[in-house]
């Protein structure tokens, strides 16, 4: 595609700042293809030190969505012709209504749930398998694991989280799922082959012998900004950078995120007021997204990393 990256400037010590809203480029919604739900708010049973919205057991900034709230948006989505549903948090399986909610979504379309897989006992896996079997649509489990050993992962995600997640992946594989394992790249590029090779062997040991792996770049906001570093000053999207850029590569050109407190342009910007577009979904599809945050730069460089498949240009010539 020939995207030119700006020249690197000396590293700043800031942890990120917003572009002036009046100067920030905007992105119109092309079509509402993806509807995201902040189904567990910002509540998570883990306290990962790279979380881009700093979710934790005591972060109650956004609360759980009820089945009724989700259903209201699902009904709107039918009218708007949505193509796929994503459920995130926080940890979605902390929402006591999650199985019913996933069943409601699967009655309408393909459904993905993003989970740390530490709350997936056998009975929950079996319930998911039943819902998947009843639906003509695919149910995708996106499991976050960050490292090929307990030492690597647990340093980021907390004590014991590696073993619990890997065991759950084994249960999901045994139930017929092919979970998508996402890992934020926290290692040097030269280490990738070795690390992923080792990772595959560990997954094979629990019975997952054809893993779907998705490597994510770091989003240098929230807890990650403190763990590693924030964005450099030059790492922001300017109007010039959008002039020949295919906007459909960005999640906000085809997605909206529903929460208990309004509708956002994308799940990454939950902590940022510039990401909040409207009170309702019907209003939010009419409002362009504003690329004011430095996290937008990561999406600009890498495409819609939150999707199961990246966005790709309709006409990349």
């Amino acid at each position: 595609m020939g995207i030119q990256l700006p020249q690197t400037s000396p590293r700043s010590t800031s942890v990120g700042s917003a572009t002036d809203l009046a100067e920030a480029p905007t992105v119109e919604l092309r079509a509402l293809d993806q509807l995201w739900f902040q189904v567990a708010g910002t509540v998570c049973n883990l306290r990962c030190n790279h979380c881009f919205i700093s979710c934790s057991p005591d972060n109650h900034s956004f609360w759980f969505m009820s089945r009724e709230e989700v259903n209201e948006a699902l009904q709107t989505s039918v009218r708007l012709g949505v193509k796929e549903y994503y459920f995130t948090g926080g940890e979605p399986f902390m929402n006591r209504d999650i199985l019913g909610i996933l069943g409601d979504a699967l009655a309408l379309g393909p459904t993905t749930v993003l989970t740390n897989a530490t709350l997936l006992p056998q009975r929950t896996v079996e319930a998911l398998a039943r819902r998947s079997a009843r639906s003509p649509y695919t149910l995708e489990l996106r499991v976050s694991i960050d490292g090929v050993t307990a030492e690597m992962n647990d340093a980021i995600r907390g004590e014991g989280s590696f073993t619990r997640a890997i065991d759950a992946v084994g249960r999901l594989a045994a139930a017929g799922f092919l979970p998508i394992i996402t890992t934020m790249q926290t290692w040097a590029e030269s280490e990738t082959d070795r690390i992923l090779g080792h990772f595959r062997s560990i997954l094979a040991e629990v019975g997952y012998d054809r893993p779907r792996l998705k490597i994510l770049p770091p989003l240098r906001i929230g807890a990650e900004a403190a763990r590693d570093r924030g964005y450099d000053d030059f790492e922001r999207v300017t109007a010039d950078m959008m002039t020949e850029y295919p906007a459909e590569l960005l999640l906000c050109s085809g997605a909206r995120l529903v929460t208990t407190s309004g509708v956002w342009a994308c799940p990454i910007l939950l902590d940022h007021e510039s990401g909040r577009l409207a009170d309702t979904l019907d209003e939010a599809v009419e409002v362009p997204a504003v690329l004011a945050e430095q996290a937008c730069y990561t999406c600009w460089v890498n495409g819609a990393i939150c999707s199961n498949m990246p966005g790709f240009a309709a006409d990349p010539a």
């Binding site: 012709g81 393909p110 998705k214 498949m309 990246p310």
Partner: protein, 271 residues
Amino acid sequence: MTMAGVESGAMYTRVAAFGGVYSNHLALSAAIQDARARGAEAAICLGDLGAFGPNPDKVFPLLREHGIPVVRGNYDDAIARGLDDCQCGYTDPRDNHYARLSYQYTFRNTSPENRQWMDTFPEEVRFRLGDLDVLACHGSPRQTNEFLWESATPTHFLDKLADDFGADVIVGTHTGIHWTRSWGERRAYVNVGALGRPANDGRTDVWYALLGAAGSALSVDFVPVRYDHEALASEMRDEELPEEFVETILTGWWTTCLEILPGKERAVGRF
């Protein structure tokens, strides 16, 4: 019985629709004979003439001889315009490796004349089938390289496409696995599958679709095509194409370009 090419705006009652050919000239030839024998009045190809198979130029004379029109696929578009890759959008390094081998081989072995012809392929062809308005495209009416998998395509999404593009029936390919769904009084989507490689089902047959209509009642028959797949495999080896591509032809299981499959479709395959 003769079989013509589908003409834009014309009316038919029985049409053969061929999906991605992927340079499988033996399967295309067999499918054309089969469709004629089954009484198809006309035929159309939905694009992606090249990809995994050998000697891409062998496909073109068959299409020209039978006057079969071709809708522009992402592969055709990329080859015609000399783009860097096939526009399938892989991110998995292994998928990208094989996609690149396939694309570079096809690009090298497609003549300038055929590339020029590909550049004339339209993005859609519309015709009447009985009382139904049919829109034939490659991926989706809105985007040539959009994948419409059975388990990842809601009915309300298809209904919006039908509204937005003013069609009763949308016919496409691009994924390589055939399926169909109808809804409402007269609406349907048909993915005709692919002639180029098997449907990831452990069978060596490839598939096309016979579309028929009596009034506004649509009929869709997916037809398995048996062809000399061992001869194709031999030709692929002569061309030193990757053994992984040959394996798919000989076993019916996809070995590459798997990243794009939804979990439900991938789970029923071997890899």
